[in-house]
């Protein structure tokens, strides 16, 4: 574990006791995430991606191994508000406006009024929702709601961003656009990002490292370092380097699955 390791998992295991017997959601997972890394988690449904992310966020308690975030336990990191978490569903409060929803964590964390207002308009700008501050969630499309929920996770000073399939429900074009913006944001803010996705191109386009996982029990089968430069226009996806990494990810998924994906 080097000095700039932000998240470090050692032999992490999590077994859910269910009515049909134990489910090994994670088994002996070890991974170090460095400061400023953009790590994507990819793998078939049920391989423990969400569970892994929830362990980092102290929303799930591992049954074995250890995990540290910013050098302290996941629980302490959560108490220090070390990360922003973007859930699969936007989960905006229907009784709060978009602005009010983004202000929610700021209120909870005790930012003053002026600072709240400044940050709300700043992050709304960032996700292209300027002018929607006073609208209620039901007045926005699903994609806009998801952008608002990302804005909410960006509004406070957490240098880790945990995202669980944030763009899963969005159409291709919006997704491309948000991927581009996310990269710019990551470049500008130097945040460490853990990103769960089902899409190989998305994983390859965004990440500095791609973690391939496989189910039953949930484990890491491959970690691929991306040689792509930090500067990534959208059409980098047509270059041979890009296609080669995508190919490796696909192979990894196939091997982990034991058959065709």
């Amino acid at each position: 574990m080097s000095s700039n390791t932000v998240i470090s998992a050692q032999d992490l295991s999590l077994t859910f006791q269910t009515g049909d017997g134990p489910v090994h959601a994670l088994k002996d997972v070890s991974l170090d995430v460095g400061k400023g890394d953009f790590v994507s988690f990819i793998g078939p449904s049920g391989c423990g991606k969400t569970t892994f992310l929830r362990c980092m966020a102290d929303l799930e308690h591992p049954t074995g191994g250890s995990i540290t975030v910013n050098g302290v336990s996941a629980e302490e990191a959560r108490r220090n508000r070390a990360y922003g978490y973007v859930f699969q569903a936007a989960g905006l409060y229907p009784w709060r406006t978009i602005g009010g929803n983004i202000r929610l964590p700021l209120e909870i964390m005790g930012y003053d009024k002026a600072e709240q207002a400044r940050r709300v308009s700043e992050v709304l700008e960032l996700v292209d929702l300027a002018g929607f501050e006073k609208k209620f969630p039901w007045q926005l499309s699903g994609g806009m709601q998801q952008r608002a929920s990302i804005a909410r996770a960006l509004a406070f000073d957490a240098d880790i961003l945990l995202m669980d399939e944030p763009f899963g429900a969005l159409d291709e074009i919006v997704r491309d656009h948000l991927n581009e913006q996310l990269l710019q944001l990551w470049d500008r803010t130097d945040k460490t990002i853990c990103f769960v996705t089902h899409s190989i191109p998305e994983a390859v386009y965004l990440s500095t490292r791609i973690v391939v996982m496989s189910p039953r029990p949930g484990r890491i089968t491959d970690v691929i370092e991306s040689p792509l430069p930090k500067e990534r226009p959208l059409d980098i996806r047509e270059t041979p380097e890009f296609l080669e990494i995508a190919h490796r990810v696909r192979d990894g998924l196939r091997a982990g699955h034991g058959d065709e994906v």
């Binding site: 966020a57 102290d58 929303l59 959560r78 108490r79 220090n80 508000r81 990360y83 922003g84 978490y85 859930f87 569903a89 989960g91 409060y93 229907p94 009784w95 709060r96 406006t97 929610l104 964590p105 209120e107 909870i108 964390m109 209620f136 039901w138």
Partner: protein, 290 residues
């Protein structure tokens, strides 16, 4: 006003049935009178008679309407709108214990619901008692409450309000427990990721989520409070209140008085429940949830 026609249709149907029932129920007495006096009754005369008795088994709607007018509007016109004979006065008495009981019941219900949601021990232990409390017939314990409270020197408004409270806290507990538990697991997880305190989670998530449930419960609780207030007036031998009017009416066979008190009570309940509906609509609209 789209739904005026169906409403009027139903009202007309009720009135027709009511008049017919008045004829059917009161006819026997009219016939007996006629036989005793020894003269024949034509059908129109019979019908006419059944609708104009002093102490009918079932008074006709217009008789009740006249009685209500004489004890409300007419008295107001005569400048005695709040005399002890006016239904406004009796409604006010019933309303005051309804309102106090409703407020107490709502406070108790919300407090119990918060306890049940936040405290495991209360969750396991309180709910069975709350349910058991409602299986006891209120008519059986109302006199006991009044007598016991009287014995310790509490009389007047409070004992009656206690009965309203007893009936109205139940729907509030049930509704609020459901409402406070209505946030999705994901929303609660989200609060955890922000390291929100339990108080913040309560004020910013659980309480707002529970509002639709609260208002539904309040409506049921309000109707129950009116019933409680009236029931509370029966065993006290109270001289004032719609319950007292009902009791006095039944002592002296004054069915018209009974029915006018009944209709007044129903109107009171409808107005109060309607008021809550109004507050509900305004609140939920302001919250963007309507």
């Amino acid at each position: 006003m789209r739904n005026l026609l169906p409403v009027l249709t139903i009202v007309t149907a009720i009135l027709v049935i009511w008049y017919a029932a008045a004829v059917a129920l009161n006819a026997q007495w009219v016939r007996d009178q006629a036989t005793r006096a020894g003269h024949e009754l034509s059908l129109p005369a019979l019908v006419e008679a059944t609708w104009s008795q002093d102490k009918p088994k079932l008074p006709a709607p217009h008789q009740v309407a006249v009685e209500i007018w004489q004890t409300t509007g007419a008295m107001v016109l005569a400048g005695r709108g709040f005399s002890k004979r006016s239904l406004f006065y009796h409604s006010w008495i019933t309303f005051s214990s309804t309102a106090l009981g409703f407020l107490l019941g709502t406070a108790l219900g919300v407090a119990l619901a918060i306890g049940i949601v936040y405290n495991r021990t209360m969750d396991m232990s309180v709910m069975p008692w709350v349910i058991a409390s409602q299986t006891i017939p209120i008519l059986a314990i109302a006199p006991m409450i009044i007598v016991v409270l009287n014995a310790v020197g509490i009389s007047g408004l409070l004992p009656k309000a206690m009965i309203s409270m007893y009936l109205s806290f139940f729907p509030v507990v049930v509704g609020m427990v459901k409402g406070l538990r209505s946030p999705a697991t994901m929303q609660l997880d989200q609060m955890r990721t922000w390291n929100a305190s339990p108080a913040q989670t309560f004020w910013k998530l659980r309480l707002p989520s529970s509002m639709p449930y609260l208002f539904t419960s309040l409506k049921i609780g309000m109707a129950a409070s009116v019933v409680g207030a009236i029931v509370g007036e029966l065993p006290t031998g109270a001289v004032a209140g719609l319950g007292a009017r009902l009791l006095a009416g039944s002592y002296y066979g004054q069915t018209i008085q009974i029915w006018s008190a009944l209709i007044m009570a129903a109107t009171l309940a409808a107005v109060l429940v309607g008021l809550i509906g109004l507050v509900q609509r305004m609140t939920l609209r302001r919250m963007g949830m309507a």
